[in-house]
Symmetry: none
């Protein structure tokens, strides 16, 4: 189990203070002990972590990276004890994983509200695609995940909302001439724009395309709905966008025409997901409530 946690603490301290001696004082160990441990770690890893000399100790490039990771490990280790002390979800650090097609549009209001009501909460947001979210929850990188319900079998779920899909097109597009919900048949022969494979949304859109007789553009493989919107604006096709995004986009006043897709399967259900062991805690229920309220505000108007 090398390097030891203590050794990680040591190298972090040295990196922070830039001097072995000073770090030793702060760590309440003798300077030789610290030097020995540094040597130990370097021998063990087979890399020089610090350049030592009269000017103190400066991290090498690898050293800096190791220190960075060491910090993360030590922090997670600290959090371990916090779990026991309990205090619930709204204290300490809450690591929230979220789909990139939801997070930046749903969370701003939520974050503000949480920040106001629970100043001691440190919220950590990571946007990842579905596959990584699933893995992250299992491996303990996330405490809670906001994702599509169907991708997390066996986990504790709490439904947040259903969002319909919308099509976005330039205002001079043929389909922009009519209004109201857009039946699936209207998509026949069209080029659809969506996220790259690996994202849940793209699978959903692929299914729609198949049934509607449309095809998926191969032009875009990024992660950003904004870029899809841009491509739609340039006439590359119809951007298929989730309801939350479409709502914020419409609110912003855009150069695109938005039409809701009228089809039972042009919908996805978003849930708040936590590791199965926990059960529904009062805190997760409270967070779900906040998220639901925000979604309703965005989707069904102020």
């Amino acid at each position: 189990m090398r390097p030891t946690l203590r050794q990680l603490e040591y190298i972090v301290a040295v990196a922070d203070l830039g001097q072995v001696g000073a770090a030793a004082v702060q760590l309440n160990v003798s300077q030789p002990s610290l030097s020995a441990q540094l040597a130990e770690v370097e021998a063990d890893l087979g890399v020089k972590l610090f350049l030592r000399g009269r000017g103190g100790a400066r991290a090498t490039p690898v050293g800096a990276e190791i220190v960075r990771r060491a910090r993360a490990i030590l922090r997670d280790h600290q959090d371990l004890r916090a779990v026991v002390r309990g205090g619930g979800m709204f204290q300490g650090r809450l690591r929230l994983g979220v789909l990139p097609s939801i997070g930046p549009y749903l969370l701003p209001g939520v974050v503000r509200r949480l920040h106001d009501e629970h100043p001691s909460l440190r919220l950590v947001v990571r946007d990842e695609n579905t596959r990584d979210l699933v893995a992250g929850l299992r491996e303990g990188r996330h405490d809670l995940v906001i994702s599509t319900a169907e991708d997390h079998p066996g986990a504790q779920q709490e439904t947040l909302f259903r969002e319909e899909l919308w099509a976005a097109m330039p205002q001079d597009h043929a389909l922009a001439a009519t209004a109201g919900p857009l039946p699936l048949e209207g998509l026949r022969g069209q080029v659809l724009l969506t996220l790259g494979s690996g994202h849940r949304l793209s699978q959903l859109v692929a299914g729609l395309a198949g049934r509607a007789g449309a095809r998926i553009s191969e032009d875009y493989e990024g992660t950003s709905l904004d870029a899809i919107r841009l491509m739609a604006a340039s006439g590359a096709g119809l951007a298929i966008l989730p309801g939350i995004y479409a709502a914020t986009e419409a609110r912003r006043g855009t150069d695109l025409t938005l039409r809701r897709l009228k089809d039972a399967s042009a919908v996805r259900q978003i849930s708040l997901i936590q590791p199965s062991a926990h059960g529904v805690t009062p805190d997760s229920a409270a967070l779900a409530g906040i998220l639901r309220a925000e979604a309703a505000r965005l989707l069904h108007g102020n």
Copy 2:
């Protein structure tokens, strides 16, 4: 430094195998040693982690949570060692690669204008991090790339603009009390939020952090500046944002206070880059002009 890494290994093994004895075998220690360590951890944390009996050992709810986090810590610890072992334009289709920290903010206006002026142009936008952009240009996935100048040696470049970096913070943050450009010394001791490694911006911010005596938060490793802004709003630290983003953000009317960083190196230069063979075509010069105009509009008002 309790619980020890080894202790974490132990509880994970027990959780996995559901039996102390079997876990002891797998771990190559005697059963009493393992029992002793389990008792040690439980005493230390003050919680029962496993219910032991004839049927083996089953994790309690807290126990399961601790085990989950232990797994994450051990995985990160494993990764530590891996670190050491470890780099005719306006017609038809124009494949434009762009940094995710620029594209969605710079391009909307540009796309609209291109669409108006060159209806036959099909613009394909991909947002990728610097490394992938470089590769994409070399491998021919992109026709043009909008990126930082210094990462594309040997390629044909045309400077578009320089953008300064901004710090974003909640309005109740200490640094929000004063106004005007923020000198680097003001960042001392602060936690900075930026994109995950692999993005050019994070390297730039890491450099600033080093010189300013600030440190980079490890909390976020996604690809979206929006998520960084959210984290800043939640009080997780100072979001360091590129000028273009800051400008659109300010324009949108936000709950964050924005202050420009006053430092010669808190700047990045954005260029339009094409494979060296091409030379500067009239068309690429025209596109550069459009991009420059849009950047100026965003950065310096209108």
